[in-house]
Symmetry: C2
């Protein structure tokens, strides 16, 4: 392979170490320790593992974790009441409602209840609007993590042609907004795009988040492009991204592996967002 590997695992570890230092400084300065509340409804094993990972990662950087679990049949009013309590609780800097929630609940409506200054997932309508308008606010973790990877890899986004494949609310749309804010020329492509390989070939920076095992081939990539693979596809021959890594790494100038690329950044950015949320709330409590 000729491409430089963008080592997400190492960059995420650096980010977490930075957050740990910044949490200590924040706590020394304010006398207040940032706290992250996770809300898990039901017993989905994968969700329980994710939540456990976030709790553990919080503890490691000095953020106090609050672990709230409700039974799978918890009525909406009970989840809402919990979110309201957490919104009002000064010890809770950030709130994360683990999705998906059981079918009788409305995940979008529940997420929308979270105080936008505690919205560490950056997924409420108000957080999305702040991002769209370029206002300060909490940004979704995975695209924010990609921005850190690009920065650490020394990619100059100003005027670069960036193509984002995928347009989810969770990743593709906020990713496009962040790239636009960094002065890239941004194209959002998706399942309806005509000539997807041709569109991808125009990219100086190609970011793929579609959930299709090794879809992007070497001849989809402009020689020298930077390729960020957000996919995570499990198949009989192992875990793979949306990019055919072996062949694309012969064409790209830099590329993220799967696993060990974008994945590790998500929790690192969640921790950074929790600290940012704690800062927002301190600013809110002290009259200007």
């Amino acid at each position: 392979m000729s491409a430089t590997l963008i080592d997400g695992k190492a960059i995420a570890a650096e980010t977490r170490a930075e957050v740990a230092r910044d949490v200590e400084a924040f706590t020394a300065r304010t006398g207040h320790r940032p706290g992250l509340a996770t809300v898990l409804v039901g017993e989905d094993p994968a969700s329980a593992i994710y939540v456990g990972g976030k709790q553990k990662a919080s503890r490691e950087v000095g953020i106090e974790p609050f672990d709230h679990r409700l039974p799978a049949d918890a009525p909406a009013v009970e989840v809402e009441a919990l979110l309201e309590r957490l919104n009002a609780d000064d010890a809770v800097s950030g709130i994360l409602c683990q999705l998906p929630v059981p079918g009788h609940l409305d995940g979008v409506a529940l997420t929308g209840m979270i105080d936008p200054d505690k919205d560490v997932d950056g997924l409420t309508p108000l957080s999305a609007g702040r991002l769209a308008l370029g206002l300060p606010g909490l940004r979704p973790c995975t695209p924010a993590g990609v921005m850190v990877l690009l920065e650490r890899a020394g990619v100059d986004l100003r005027g670069a042609g960036a193509v984002v494949v995928g347009r989810s609310n969770l990743f593709g749309k906020p990713m496009a907004q962040l790239l636009l804010g960094a002065d890239a020329t941004v194209t959002t492509a998706h399942s309806r795009t005509r000539d997807l390989p041709g569109v991808c070939r125009t990219a100086d920076v190609l970011i793929v988040a579609v959930g299709r095992d090794r879809m992007v081939k070497a001849d989809w990539v402009k020689p020298g492009a930077v390729v960020i693979d957000v996919g995570m596809n499990r198949s009989e021959d192992g875990l793979h991204g949306d990019v055919a890594f072996d062949e694309v790494s012969e064409v790209a100038s830099a590329i993220t592996p799967v696993p060990g690329g974008v994945g590790p950044m998500t929790i690192a950015m969640l921790l950074r967002n929790t600290l940012a949320a704690a800062e927002l709330q301190i600013a809110r409590r002290v009259p200007a």
Copy 2:
């Protein structure tokens, strides 16, 4: 010229006639007449003309206009108190705070105070977030008007390559979101874009909003493309758009003129938004 002219003046008149019919039906059904409150701070003559035009247009379609004017030195608390009163007033379906406001006021903060269900300009952070996430809500008038023009011109956006030149919060960014929602492959270009002519040449649908007199030349346009010109530039030889109309209309398949293209759609969409806001508020008042 070979391009079909997209007659914004005629389409706007049709839209206003439709809104007038729908307002009558709404009033007959609910016993409630939609109302539009405009807030003008200061004496800027252009702003006064815009506000007057919106008042007159409201009256013509059966929307009750409420005309609020404050002196140029009105303190922020006075404007805020007025907006709060209008938010609470059931007779007011839509609120429009005419921008720009005098320098001692914060236009973004004032706009942000407007109840999102009364935000007929579609410019509050929550409205921007609803658009970004594909949730129901009020959309900014000018890009929404462009969507109507494209629809009336029979343009099939699904899978089409759309290029938006300009990335303002008022137009470019929401325009890109609306096109993405209609399944176009969307590129946002701007002042930092390398090879802007080359990017424009990839467009099946080219939408330009940069405020540069006749910047887009014939050789920037793919033969057969649809060209929407959002510019309004006054020069010694008259009013012109951002597109060199005479030469581009020889290449494009359809094009909007300036004046008489996008411009007339903005007020028409403001009226439609006011009716939509009235519907939202009726839905809110009647317990589900």
